[in-house]
């Protein structure tokens, strides 16, 4: 169990608001730029950081995050660099949890067992493998747990209660609920539909529920903040890092804006 993650969700509950999980890809736009971004995120309003492990084939991601992966890979980004970044981040920050989020093939390249050991040592608080399923997932969860790292279960809309029970059984950390099916950065979700689904999911699990995929606008984030314990935002940050179109301060300013909207909306306890 990650004490840092538990403390953060406890704090959010006490403050009566949903947490903002800011997703950035390790090495985007490059190593130093990424570290500057990571160090700026907590002050900008990010409660938890999701650090993407650069992948050559990020097949579940839309064009924007795919671009982020390409930039990161071009900058020499891989799982090693991601963990180096976490170590550097931890030099100045001990409070903000970091969730390593990646594809199975990236982790396999690092060799999985070593990854969880190294990640724990670097200061990673949880791991999320976006394309893990079935037996692999269970085997990996055991390995991750051996190093004190919760492997975050994913609740897909189409699975319904039974699948959610299956995938969240004896899990720890939090549950990642996919807001809209399809790739990251897709169409904005139907807020009412997602809200109803999150309510059903909450009856199946006692873990905090984080909702992601498709949350790009301040409006959507404000509306869903009342339904989840946390919201993950990635595409809207990455598109502000595209060279020539945005900048690190611009991305941080957006984080401040969306975090402000979520704080204003209040959390699930405020309804």
């Amino acid at each position: 169990m990650s004490a840092r993650l538990d403390r953060r969700f406890a704090m959010l509950q006490q403050e009566g608001r949903a947490g903002l999980l800011a997703f950035v890809t390790a090495g985007d736009p490059d190593r130093d730029g990424c570290l500057e971004l990571l160090r700026g995120l907590p002050a900008a309003g990010a409660d938890i950081i999701e650090l993407g492990l650069p992948s050559k084939n990020p097949w579940l991601d839309g064009p924007v995050i795919k671009g982020a992966h390409q930039r990161a890979v071009a900058a020499g980004g891989d799982a090693h660099m991601a963990l180096d970044l976490v170590r550097a981040f931890r030099e100045t920050n001990q409070g903000t949890p970091v969730v390593a989020m990646g594809y199975a093939d990236t982790l396999h390249r690092h060799t999985l067992n070593r990854f969880f050991a190294d990640a724990a040592e670097a200061g990673v608080d949880a791991a999320l493998i976006v394309d893990a399923t079935g037996d692999d997932w269970r085997a990996w969860r055991g390995q991750a747990r051996d190093h004190g790292i919760p492997l975050i279960p994913i609740a897909h809309a189409e699975d319904g209660e039974l699948g959610w029970m299956r995938d969240t059984f004896e899990a720890d950390g939090f549950v990642y609920a996919v807001a809209s099916p399809g790739k990251s950065g897709g169409a904005a979700p139907d807020v009412a539909e997602v809200a109803a689904r999150l309510q059903r999911l909450r009856r199946v699990t006692d873990l905090p529920v984080v909702c992601g995929f498709g949350i790009r606008s301040v409006e959507t984030a404000g509306a869903l903040a009342r339904e989840a314990d946390g919201l993950a935002v990635g595409t809207a940050i990455a598109e502000r890092l595209v060279p020539g179109q945005g900048s690190i301060p611009g991305a941080l300013a957006f984080v401040t804006e969306i975090s402000g909207a979520m704080r204003e909306a209040g959390g699930p306890k405020a309804t």
Partner: protein
């Protein structure tokens, strides 16, 4: 037939005898105590309430008791009930566990309750009784006794816990269609009911109160006896047709349970499925993990005391040794009305006390989530009571998945939820809540337990 779903035995193969677990217990069952004399009750004490044949069964130490032919004839209208292999549930859970359930919802009243209602009605009719009184929580027992009364031409009066009476108008219509009279309890028809209403006019009722009313109505007239739908030994014995059939059906399936699960309110459906298997285990058979599932808001087995207590609120019944939350305890109003009882079948309590049965408790909303999920996979929406067993079965199947073990799980799907749509509607709309237990109230009810000199083993 590698993908068989239902394992059916023929009417001819329906059990001809009930199984009485008292014969196989290591320690004798605790004596039932008369609250006036503090001595074990004798048949004459029970005679105003029950026919002689039932009283004899209550204290019988015979392992098998013949089922009268007229009882088997009525039971045959729906028995033997099917044993299902929950293949679609297994697939959805991606579990190596083999999940079986015995489906008692095929009875005309929709639950296991007619198994004993028919037998009790028969014995009463046989001894010249004209009228039966009883209580009902969710309405399943009242419906079953109404049905049995119609089969054997007996008048039936049912005191239905008020919260259920209001939540389930169709249960009342069902009972009245079979000619029974149904009253919301607490009512103004009895001393017990009037006393409760005087103290709390808004009382939502409880099984304990309804029992007091039914017993009071019974002792007022010589031609009237009382029928209890759970808790007592004879009731549990009548329910063993479930487990006896399941033993044959599991054999057809080529499996034997590693884990047995039943929900417990008074204990009868749990006992019905599990006692015959526990008997085999106690006679040297394979070890089984036997799980009794109760609501977290009426945690008799997991948080109650194993002590002598009254079976009803007005303290009219004899004292029995059981797990109890105190006869004065009124559980918060939740939907599994059949599980809202302060006490427990003494035989089930004894098995829990002897570590042969493992009790667990779940909250209402998680059991409904399990029930809805089960319905989507298997096509049957369970009764809210049975949702507790479903929840435990899913948990055990997922544990088996974690451990990578192909465990065989058998649970009792004691009834369907077709009369419980108001509850499902509330669940769907998100209005179903888990009320917090009032620990202080529970402690007070437990502090009021009667003082009984430690016994006095039964002969």
């Amino acid at each position: 037939m590698s993908h068989q779903i239902k394992y059916q035995i023929s009417e001819r193969e329906m059990p001809k005898q009930w199984y009485n677990i008292a014969a196989d217990l290591q320690n004798p069952p605790s004596a039932v105590i008369h609250p006036g004399t503090m001595q074990p009750v004798g048949p004459e004490d029970l005679a105003p309430l029950f026919p002689m044949e039932i009283i004899q069964q209550e204290v019988s130490m015979e392992r098998f008791i013949d089922i009268p032919e007229p009882v088997r004839d009525v039971l045959r209208q729906w028995r033997p009930t099917p044993l299902h292999r929950a293949r679609r549930l297994e697939k959805a859970l991606d579990t190596p566990a083999k999940i079986f359930y015995k489906y008692e919802g095929v009875s005309p009243a929709g639950s296991h309750k007619p198994n004993t209602a028919v037998a009790q009605a028969f014995y009463n009719k046989n001894e010249g009784v004209k009228r039966l009184t009883t209580e009902t929580g969710a309405g399943q027992w009242g419906s079953s006794l109404a049905l049995a009364g119609a089969m054997f031409d007996l008048e039936v009066e049912v005191f239905m816990v008020k919260i259920s009476f209001n939540q389930k108008p169709y249960r009342r219509a069902f009972m009245e269609s079979f000619g029974a009279k149904c009253f919301a309890s607490p009512s103004d028809m009895t001393e017990a009911g009037r006393a409760i209403l005087a103290e709390n006019p808004d009382s939502t009722g409880s099984l304990g109160m309804a029992i007091s009313e039914a017993v009071e109505r019974c002792v007022q007239r010589d031609d009237t006896k009382y029928a209890l739908g759970s808790v007592l030994n004879h009731v549990l014995t009548h329910q063993t047709v479930i487990g006896l059939e399941a033993i044959d059906q599991m054999e057809m399936a080529g499996e034997y349970p590693d884990i047995l699960i039943g929900c417990t309110g008074g204990g009868s459906n749990f006992a019905g499925l599990c006692f015959p298997f526990i008997g085999q285990m106690m006679r040297g058979g394979d070890e089984i993990d036997v799980i009794a599932v109760e609501p977290a808001n009426c945690p008799t087995l997991t948080r109650g005391k194993y002590a002598y207590d009254f079976g009803d609120t007005a303290q009219m019944t004899p004292l029995v040794k059981m797990h109890t939350l105190g006869a004065g305890f009124v559980p918060p109003g939740f939907h599994a009305g059949g599980l809202r009882y302060h006490g427990m079948a003494p035989l089930v309590s004894q098995l829990v006390d002897e570590d042969i049965v493992r009790p667990v408790a779940y909250h209402q909303t998680e059991t409904f989530a399990a029930g809805v999920a089960f319905g989507k996979a298997e096509g049957i929406l369970p009764a809210p009571e049975a949702n507790h067993a479903v929840k435990a079965a899913i948990v055990e199947a997922l544990k088996a998945r974690e451990e990578g073990k192909a465990k065989t799980i058998l649970f009792n799907l004691s009834g369907h939820g077709n009369f419980d749509m108001a509850a499902y509607q509330e669940y769907a709309s998100g209005n179903l809540k888990d009320e917090a237990m009032n620990d202080q109230e529970m402690a007070m009810a437990l502090a009021g337990l009667p003082k009984v000199p430690e016994p006095v083993a039964a002969e």
